[in-house]
């Protein structure tokens, strides 16, 4: 069944249309990657799906219910959100930060602690548990925030560039964790910039451009030179990945202004 769906979703602010008539859904157990050039509306899509922004047209459904009719507390049990950047400046320990992810469940301190320990092991952040969040590097902060989002244990997880500031190993780790999460039944929607990374891990890719969905489908189906060429305005060559066979995108030029 559909875990989340955008139905005729549009968002307009100050005369600009950031998203227009988007129809998109993600099923339980599915990993959907959202790609597209800067300003395509990817972050707006995540904000609308999460219920953070109220659509100016269309609607978002989570678990078959209109998000606009749900309370923040209800939503917090159904979906977790990893924003694109992190603003915490107060000296919480990373363990405390991850435990905050348990707030919607209202359980005991011990439950929160147990869940936090588990996800921190899964995400390779256990060694950061006693460090102070503001003293971490940007990539480390992103990993701890990722652990916090997983600690929320929701059937739907929305992520805005979860791998943006990570090194190669941790990119793999985060994508692998999300893949496992989807395989165990969760629905994942992740905005990703690295198309090759997306191609190897996701079930379906949605390509967003100028507020419109330009293509949705399997990586093999949508990652074609003509589609990518027109969306990104560059020439690309698509070859099969020598090891795993998924599409591998090689830019070959054309990145010119105008």
């Amino acid at each position: 069944m559909s875990a989340a769906a955008a139905i005729g979703l549009g968002y307009r602010v100050g005369g600009a249309t950031l998203l227009d008539g988007v129809d998109l859904d993600v099923a339980d157990g599915e990993f959907l990657g959202v790609i597209g050039p800067n300003g395509a509306g990817k972050t707006t899509l995540v904000q609308l799906l999460s219920g953070e922004l109220v659509p100016t047209s269309g609607r978002v459904e989570i678990g078959g219910r209109d998000v606009a009719t749900m309370s923040l507390a209800e939503l917090a049990l159904l979906r977790a959100v990893l924003p694109g950047h992190h603003v915490l400046q107060f000296a919480f320990r990373c363990l405390d930060v991850v435990m905050m992810g348990r707030y919607p469940h209202g359980g005991s301190e011990a439950d929160a602690r147990a869940a936090a320990d588990r996800v921190m092991t899964e995400t390779d952040t256990a060694s950061l548990a006693d460090r102070l969040y503001p003293t971490l590097s940007g990539g480390e902060q992103a990993r701890v925030s990722f652990a916090r989002v997983l600690a929320q244990e929701t059937p739907l997880v929305l992520l805005d560039e979860p791998t943006g500031s990570l090194d190669l190993r941790h990119q793999e780790l985060v994508m692998g964790t999300l893949r496992d999460l989807a395989d165990s039944g969760a629905a994942i929607v992740a905005v990703l910039h690295d198309i090759n990374l997306a191609a190897r891990f996701v079930d379906r890719i949605a390509i967003l451009d100028e507020g419109l969905v330009r293509a949705v489908g399997t990586p093999e189906g949508v990652l074609r030179p003509d589609v990518l060429g027109s969306v990104y305005g560059i020439d690309v060559k698509v070859v099969p990945h020598p090891e795993v066979g998924c599409p591998l995108i090689l830019p070959i030029g054309g990145g010119r202004v105008g």
């Binding site: 999460s50 953070e52 309370s71 923040l72 507390a73 939503l75 917090a76 049990l77 979906r79 977790a80 959100v81 924003p83 992190h86 603003v87 915490l88 400046q89 107060f90 000296a91 919480f92 320990r93 405390d96 930060v97 905050m100 992810g101 707030y103 919607p104 006693d130 460090r131 102070l132 503001p134 003293t135 971490l136 916090r148 929320q152």
Partner: protein
């Protein structure tokens, strides 16, 4: 130990230390002054008022000084110090900024103006509640104004917050002083009273009209502790975790301003307590509000009672305005904090 590693004082030790500090400050506040009263005499006088006789001798002067002057003064110091400490911690949480002291962001001066206007206009109708009522309304007015000015696209800008606070404090502070001079009304006291503060006005009556407003904040603010923690993650993140950010903000600002407004109405605007105490607590116990809020209340109480002892004994027979002393300690700490914020976050925009 590297800088990033955490050293945290056990919660029991923290609260034990703070309570001992408060008791010590109370002992000094009750015993020290022109009329000396020994600790055993303090106990004897207090017991005497509870109807218990003790062997210790004390004079009627000592009894009068302790019961009518020092005890209400120490108690008012506890109430006001507790209010400023807990409110400072609450404002810093809501604004997600360790520099948000109620004094610096204009709330105290707004409360002073509200108090003066209220006493002049409604003094006859509301009686002794005119002060706290006006202080709370004035504080809220200033707080809302500064907040609206400093909000931009869903976040609070530090520079604008402090500058708007400065402007609102200048305007409302000048207004309060002007009215104090122009009205020449005995109920308002000296011009300096509202800008520097003094606990010399303490009476039991003043304590009873101030205490309820402070108690409401000290008791109810900690209920929002978890939500304040989550707000520090960011307003979006807090909302994603199920926190009604707007409602939390209204309740917390309302409670904290109530405490500050009533305090300013009672003893004038005393700065930096709300900055120093939560900062000190965060250094040793971390930023979590479940510990920070109550610890800041006790710490604020102890600091203000102690500072008041210094204020009234350091230059005998004169009293130094207590706000001067808190500024002498607090100003440099504020500068240090500014420097640190700047180093850590690459500026304060």
């Amino acid at each position: 130990m590297s800088e990033s590693q955490v050293w945290r004082i056990p919660v029991v030790v923290l609260f034990g230390g703070l309570v001992l500090g408060l008791i010590g400050a109370m002992g000094l506040g009750l015993g020290m002054g022109a009329v000396e009263i020994s600790p055993t005499q303090v106990f004897a006088i207090l017991l005497d008022h509870l109807g218990v006789d003790s062997a210790t001798e004390f004079s009627t002067t000592q009894d009068a000084v302790l019961w009518s002057i020092r005890l209400p003064r120490v108690m008012l110091g506890i109430a006001v110090g507790g209010a400023l400490g807990v409110a400072g911690a609450a404002f810093q949480g809501i604004f997600r900024n360790p520099l948000a002291d109620p004094h610096l962001i204009g709330i105290s001066s707004g409360a002073a103006l509200g108090t003066v206007v209220s006493i002049l206009v409604f003094g006859g109708v509301l009686g002794s509640f005119a002060g706290p009522a006006g202080g709370i309304v004035g504080g809220l007015g200033a707080g809302v104004t500064v907040y609206m000015l400093a909000r931009h696209e869903g976040r609070t800008e530090v520079v604008t917050l402090v500058l708007a606070g400065l402007a609102v404090a200048a305007i409302t502070g000048a207004g309060a002083s002007f009215l104090s001079v122009a009205a020449d009304d005995a109920r308002l006291g000296s011009v300096l009273f509202y800008s520097l503060g003094s606990l010399a006005v303490a009476t039991w009556d003043l304590l009873w009209v101030t205490l309820p407003f402070v108690a409401v904040a000290v008791v109810f603010l900690p209920i929002a502790a978890r939500r304040l923690d989550l707000l520090l993650l960011g307003e979006r993140e807090a909302a994603h975790l199920g926190v009604d950010v707007e409602r939390t903000r209204m309740v917390v600002v309302g409670l904290a301003t109530t405490a500050v407004g009533a305090s300013v109405a009672a003893v004038g605007a005393i700065g930096f307590v709300g900055l120093l105490v939560p900062h000190g607590v965060r250094l040793v116990a971390g930023p979590g509000h479940r510990v920070l809020l109550p610890a800041s209340a006790i710490g604020g109480a102890a600091l203000l009672v102690l500072t008041d002892v210094v204020a009234r004994t350091v230059a005998l027979p004169f009293e130094v305005p207590i706000g001067l002393l808190t500024a002498i300690i607090g100003g440099p700490v504020f500068l240090l904090l500014l420097g640190r914020t700047r180093r850590e976050h690459g500026g304060w925009g």
